[in-house]
Amino acid sequence: MTLDLILFLILALIAITTALGMLLSRNAIYSALFLVLNFITVAVFYLLLGSPFIAMVQITVYAGAIMVLFLFVIMLLGAESLPRAQILPWQKPLAIALAVVLAVEATVLLLTRGRPAGEIVPPDASVNTVNNLRDLGTALFNQYLVPFEVTSILLLVAMVGVIVLVRKEKRVH
């Protein structure tokens, strides 16, 4: 057991526990906070995989902006927990069975098809320094310039769409 492997196992345990906590919490605010912890754990995984830029983007955009938006909406609506209603008795066992099937299928397919061989080498100093960021930026603004611009237009469209959605309608009588 190397240090990397021990670190991976502990982080994986935290990630799965927080995901289950998100799933099982009755209160939506607890779910959101569990999900923040899960996102931060995944950011540490990105650091382990030698991509510090994506790790920082994960923390600022996901754990920062998106989850704050979620918490804001939960508190704005005051809808932390739903009143108990009658539930379909067969829904939960069926969902769990289907989820187990999905997990097995996904794991088997990913492990047998198109797997790049070998182990992940731990990032050395040359990967984990500013070179990584510079190369990433160069690739983003040369090779991937068109997708980058399309993404900016997508964000603009989303912004306009949200404003149109929540605007008060003028009633015409």
């Binding site: 990630a15 799965i16 799933l23 939960i74 989303a158």
Partner: protein, 100 residues
Amino acid sequence: MVPINYYIILSAILFTIGALGVLVRRNALIIFMSVELMLNAANLAMVAFGSAIQSFSGQIFVFFVIAVAAAEVAVGLALIVEIFKSKQSIDVDQMNSLKG
């Protein structure tokens, strides 16, 4: 040295928990959070693959996925707020009519 298989299995487990959340929960906000969890699991697999083949493309793809997820969350939460305004509830069982 962490074998890439471990990352793939972890990603599959996280994706499954997200899918299970979409299937069993009735709170629209928690269903939405589960969708985010699934996106995150896919991102983890992509960064792991990119790291295994020593390429940037995985990271760049994840960058775009995060940008699209931000746009998606903004629009989705606006829709949930609108549904709450008309129905006074975000229980997905209550959303059974097309006209608000």
